[in-house]
Amino acid sequence: MSNNRVSRRQFLNYTLTGVGGFMAAGMLMPMVRFAIDPALQTKAEGNFVQTSQKIADLTEEPVKVDFTFEQVDAWYKSDVTEAAWVYKDGDTVIALSPVCKHLGCTINWAGDSAHPDQFFCACHAGRYEKNGKNVAGTPPLGPLDEYEVAEKDGYLMLGKKVANTLV
């Protein structure tokens, strides 16, 4: 036991400061956390989705590549499968969205036997050239959207949908 004994007044002071401090901290910490939260959030790395398509297997002929990602709609999680028409133009890989710009049907490559080198929408006979440019005189009013592409271990990765950059 030391000589300078803690008086009742001091003891109460220490205790109240301690407990009060904890309480203040308990209230302030979440506030601070909320305030700086946006800065702490990690950005998903470009949101690229892996596909099972090997880059080396691609040719100048567009092929349909399916890819699946998880979509969260409020509390409902679901796996969404989308597709892209992918081909090589020289060395660059081009991935086009299969969604018709007219009313959102799904288009097919060479779907119309009269136009074997164009994308075709069966709903209203919309046509697109290979680079996604809409053929004038058919219902679609704009070119097909494009996907960002990347490569990982020789496999194709697809990213965000962007407006067509080729036309």
Partner: protein, 148 residues
């Protein structure tokens, strides 16, 4: 197009392009056939959703008309067809896994598809199966569309 507000707004604006209605007819059973019935329901809903995805801009998929053995007689399908015709759907197609509707073949366009149990399949197989089934429906749709 689905029967939801967003799609219906688009439908109102682009009415001349969307001339086909797809109506699923869904048989519900609650006795010993309940499992089979749920499997058929799952199949029919997946298939119609897939058809919708392919031909979004040309057809509207209505919510399924469901009935049980007892309530089936209250469903006047030819009348429903008339009603849809009158609001501008040139083609009204009924899709069902219930074979009994084929007896109305001379009054309405029924596509009867035997149900395939999808629940035991993994995703890849399921997709191929649905794609194969879609290939059965496409010729029917395109023959309808070229007629008009």
């Amino acid at each position: 197009m689905y029967f939801n507000v967003k799609d219906v707004q688009q439908f109102e604006a682009q009415k001349e392009f969307i001339d086909t209605a797809i109506v699923p007819l869904l048989s519900l059973k609650f006795d010993e056939g309940i499992k089979q019935s749920s499997s058929a329901a799952e199949y029919l809903m997946s298939l119609t959703a897939f058809i919708e995805q392919q031909f979004k801009g040309r057809l509207m998929l209505l919510p399924p008309f469901s009935y049980t053995e007892q309530t089936k007689s209250g469903l006047f399908v030819p009348l429903l067809k008339e009603e849809l015709h009158n609001v501008g759907f040139k083609h009204v197609l009924f899709l069902t896994c219930d074979h009994s509707w084929t007896s109305l073949m001379d009054q309405i366009d029924v596509i009867w598809l035997p149900s395939i149990p999808l629940e035991s399949m993994d995703k890849e197989v399921k997709k191929t199966v649905l794609e194969d089934q879609l290939k059965q429906v496409i010729p029917i749709l395109s023959s309808k569309w070229t007629q008009s």
